[in-house]
Structures are given as C-alpha cells and as structure tokens.
Symmetry: C2
Subunit: 132 residues, 2 copies
C-alpha cells in the first residue's frame, strides 16, 4: 500500500471493521496491519470520525469502531470524508488577460466537475460491507 495512502488506509481499515463491527481496534493494531504509524492512522481515522463514520474512545479500553452498520457506509462516504480528491482539481485563478487561458479553464473545469461527480456516484454504489 503506497500511493493515495490516506484513502487506501481508510478503506482497508473500514473493510476489516465491516467484517467484525463490534470489535474495538486501537490505532496501534491498525497501524501494524497497514504497515504504518499509529499517529498516521489517527490522523486519517480522525477525519472519518468528524464525518460521523467512526467513533473513538479514549482511555484504557479505548479504540475505534464503526459508527453505523457496515452496509450503511459507502465508499463515497469515505472518499468524501477525506477531502483528498482522486480527480485533479482545476483550481480557478482570477480570469487572466489571455483568452485561451480563460476558455481552457472553463472547459477543463467543467469536464473535471462532471467527472468528479460521476466518480462519487460510482463509489456510492458500493458499501464497505461488500469488500471484506
């Protein structure tokens, strides 16, 4: 697991959680499985918690758990929770003096928006219950 590691890490972890939703997992456990560092895990899962997909508990018997049923969490939920996008975003700059630049900007931005939308649609069709 190398690239796009945040998303990979998140999906992989949720996939395993979906297979045994009641078990509480610590960031150290998860990190060991994923071959990374507990802090990285907490960083990523923290975003999923903010999005309401996971809950975490501090203290002695703490750890991480799904916040909803596995079949109520789609890949799109995860993708959107980390706001990192798989489609390069064409950030719009203040309209330049160059007409070529402006026209291109519009064309490309509109294509990318459509593509992004359809990507999310596709991801929404699969739940993490289906990937374990």
């Amino acid at each position: 697991m190398k690239r796009n590691s945040r998303l990979s890490l998140a999906l992989h972890t949720l996939g395993h959680m979906a297979g045994d939703p009641d078990r509480m997992r610590t960031s150290a456990d998860i990190a060991k499985h994923a071959g990374t560092n507990p802090v990285v895990v907490r960083r990523v899962l923290g975003k999923l918690r903010e999005a309401g997909l996971l809950t975490s508990e501090k203290g002695h018997a703490g750890g991480w758990r799904l916040a909803r049923a596995p079949d109520a969490i789609t890949l799109a939920d995860v993708y959107l929770a980390l706001d990192e996008s798989l489609v390069a975003t064409a950030e719009q700059e203040a309209a330049s003096a160059c007409s070529v630049e402006n026209i291109l900007q519009k064309k490309v931005a509109s294509v990318l928006e459509d593509i992004e939308r359809s990507l999310v649609e596709r991801l929404a069709a699969t739940t993490i219950a289906e990937v374990r």
Copy 2:
C-alpha cells in the same frame, strides 16, 4: 498557471498555436508567455512531438509548429500524449494475502478505469481550434 502544469502548459500553448498555425515559435518565446523555463517547455512539447501533434526544427530558424490542422487535435490527444493522468491511478500490487485489499483493489481500479475512459471521451469532444 500553477498546478497540473504540464497539461496546462501544453494546452495553453497549443491554443495559441491554433490561432496562428503557420507561425514558428521558439521554446524561449513560449516559456516567456507561460512564465516558465525553455527547458521545461521543450520537455513538455517533446512529448507532444512524440505523439505526432507537433513538429520541431533545430538550428537557426528552428522552433515549434503544429503537425496537423488545429481542428484535428483534440484535448484528449494532448492529455494522452503526456501520459500524466488527472485521475489517480490505482496501481495494482501483487495480490496480497488480505482479501479486503484484493477486493478493494479490484473495485476501485475498475471504477477508476471507467472514470478515466469517460474523461478521455469528454476531452475528445473539444479541439484546440475551439479554445483560442
């Protein structure tokens, strides 16, 4: 022009070329317009030449020119010529022991392939003659 600079640079340059196809441009000219370095321009345009979209000539009166009519070059041609993809590619690693990983890999890869295909389709609908 900051991000995804290779594609931006390429499209922008071709857009301008489409407006005056017979004029020969040097990498230094182009670099000045694009606010970058001639070597960077040659790197990018070199790929477009390999793909048959441009021709370059060395020597004193050398420079760059379109290899075909502007309305015969689509944005998709340019996108494909630089093999840099706007959709993050889910590189496949040797099937791991973990079934979650394998299933995810397949799902995500297939989605991304579809998305990439449809992106290229969309880009193929516009020629550089339309963006000047």
